[in-house]
Symmetry: C3
Subunit: 312 residues, 3 copies
């Protein structure tokens, strides 16, 4: 196992197929244990996780903290980390990280600036997990997304996946695209309002790894052919006028009529929270997987904490 | 025991005499254990309580979290739950609750809107405890209040109880009134400034259960006849003028002279925090029970967590 | 051991040489255990520490919470304690303390008013640890500072110590000065801009205990003769003009050139966070001790928690 051993979780690209395999097998093990006889309930006893959130994200924080506690570890936590560091008193991220190294065994960091997790990882003597850094990455979200897709399509082959909504500013769609290049015979369809189309850097990255992609304007056109539709929220503040927003938002709502056009074995995902883009009426449809997906976040994070801390 | 088994703690009215009996017996057990040999110190080991506070209330939160930890459980906590949910991103309370169901074994919820706890309980697969919802209820406060009264008057019969201060906006006086209808031969005396008299809905509820009540203006008139005086804080912002407030506030101060008129075996309660309405000089009087009452909050919450989680 | 037993940690002056000895021996034990076989990892199992921070100080809070958890204890925490008490609803510190006495086994308190910890300790039935009170004291910082000096100079004799930077408003320099009077043959050199010179009360205290001190304006003049240089941050807001600040700040920067003038066996300390006053280039110099010093904070706090709670 040492050959795959993880040091930090900083970005989606760091995971190759072997490492993904290991993470997902460990995730299966965590899920089975938590729903079963809980033999791993004390496996991280005595270990301390520091939740260092430079901006609040209670949901992500809870998911990590629950994961740590389900394995018997304990947590020190702040949603006020800006005060802890540079923003308040001019301290460098490097100094903050060194200090934290003395207080904890693993750091989960949410930061407002892209690249922060990578910079912290460079000097940290304990593992850093990137829990989202600005417009950058959110790799554990991408891992739970892939895990959820693989749960329905274990072969992870010949899949058409539509990413819908805010593809420009949404970290999740970006991180997921990176990670999907690790698999064969995946086709991506981007369905977004013109103001929040997928950026060129991702498109180039996909081209480089020969992942076919295309852009579509109309959800109804593609919904019948996809295996997975990954919805994201379109945020009002991206639009120039309220009218533009209204038009776009209504266009990217997954109505019951649209869902009826989907293949029986296809799945609907969403990183949550949702607003109107998936009506509550869809929750009981067999394709709906978004609550399961959120729950998978717990299992994936348990797996990562276990892999990062087991041999230390 | 299963016949009384609790699912959620949402409102005072859900408790009948049998269930109250069970809660109070369990509370006695918790108190004896904590002050004694602490055999229950690990009884909730491995269980996670989520403190989901949509508005901060550090004291209530600490009381619940201490209770959970005294039984060996662990806690994930936020005083920032608005950000977690609807207010920030438009998510429904229902979605937030479903997500939390995957992270914890019990949810303690403080919300700014009346009825929130009940709505969460409707869809939650894990127990919800209402830790106060807006102008609504604060049932665990009512339970610890009754427990404190019963500690001095185990028969819980033939008692005259004066509720004093802000009876209109104070959740505690309202929740306590509901719960007192479960007992026989209780008489309530409401002593409040005209701007914050007890509301009609409670009066009707008392009439329906044939609990005699009357309103009095002057504390001095009734203080000699009551078994229990339940003081609450009168808040400045309820009054139209500073003069009105001054007049009312000074009228509802429990001075040493007033306490001297009380029966020897009567008791003084207060949900705390207090400001001027009970001077510190009263703390050493034999009737003073308010610090004991706060401490009982810990035992009652330990009992509730135990009852909610033991068989799950 | 009972003869030295600690009740509270309120101010530096409360520690005599015997008690300091005990604290430092216990600190050595904690450090050895944490880096070694961790036999003490459950020694405070079942105990609850309340972090009651009336103003946020995530770093100090994390240091205490990590210490408590390294010994198996658990924590209830708020950085929002003002809401808990007087500032929000007019409650007295005395009432707040009494309530907390029922929820926890030890209170770590950071307060904005000098003297708060002492007032809380007067009425508390459980130990109070002062984690900084306004312009008052920060005794655990002083303890870890002395421990760090003693680590390099076990004799704690014939030492010249320069305190540099903001000596007037900086709590740490003040608390450290108090504590250094317990040792023999210590000489203090104060190097500060004119607007933030060491206050008269400390100078008088040093005179009373016959600790020689002098003031110097120029760091370069003294750096060759000192055994320890204790740097602190000069804060912009103390100065009347931006120019004055610039002049002062640049004058109290520990440049590589200055460090080259230091004795080989001398040490550089800083309570951290630093800004520009110690450039990162100094970190690799053999004299640099500030990260070790921060780490010692964990061990000292473990020792204090152990000493305060072991016999209770």
């Amino acid at each position: 196992m040492s050959q795959f051993s993880l040091q930090h979780v900083v970005e989606s690209q760091q995971f190759d197929r072997d490492l993904l395999e290991l993470v997902f097998e460990t995730t299966d093990m965590m899920k089975a244990d938590l729903l079963g006889d809980r033999k791993l309930a004390k496996i991280l006893d005595g270990r301390i996780m520091a939740s260092l959130f430079y901006e609040p994200s209670t949901r992500t924080r809870f998911s990590f903290e629950s994961a740590m506690k389900r394995l018997g570890g304990s947590v020190i936590t702040t949603e006020n980390a800006r005060e802890f560091s540079s923003a308040a008193k001019g301290e460098s991220l490097s100094d903050s990280t060194r200090i934290m190294n003395g207080y904890a065994d693993v750091i989960v960091m949410r930061h407002n600036e892209a690249g922060s997790a990578a910079r912290a990882a460079e000097i940290s003597t304990i593992p850093i997990i990137n829990a989202g850094d600005g417009a950058g990455q959110h790799p554990t979200q991408a891992l739970l997304d892939i895990y959820t897709i693989a749960d329905s399509f274990p072969e992870m082959k010949s899949l058409k996946i539509a990413l819908v909504g805010d593809l420009r500013y949404g970290r999740t769609a970006r991180s997921l695209s990176y990670l999907l290049t690790k698999y064969e015979d995946i086709e991506l369809i981007f369905v977004a309002p013109s103001v929040c189309r997928m950026e060129g850097d991702i498109k180039k990255y996909l081209d480089k790894y020969q992942v076919p992609w295309r852009e579509e304007d109309d959800l109804a056109e593609v919904i019948g052919e996809v295996d997975c539709i990954y919805m994201t929220r379109v945020q009002k503040e991206r639009f120039h006028s309220a009218e533009d927003y209204q038009e776009a938002a209504s266009k990217y709502i997954l109505t019951p009529e649209l869902v009826s056009l989907m293949k029986q074995e296809s799945i609907i995902m969403h990183p949550l929270p949702r607003v109107d883009e998936i009506p509550a009426a869809i929750d009981s449809r067999p394709q709906a997987r978004y609550f399961e997906q959120a729950q998978n976040g717990l299992y994936v994070r348990m797996a990562l904490l276990y892999l990062l801390l087991q041999d230390r």
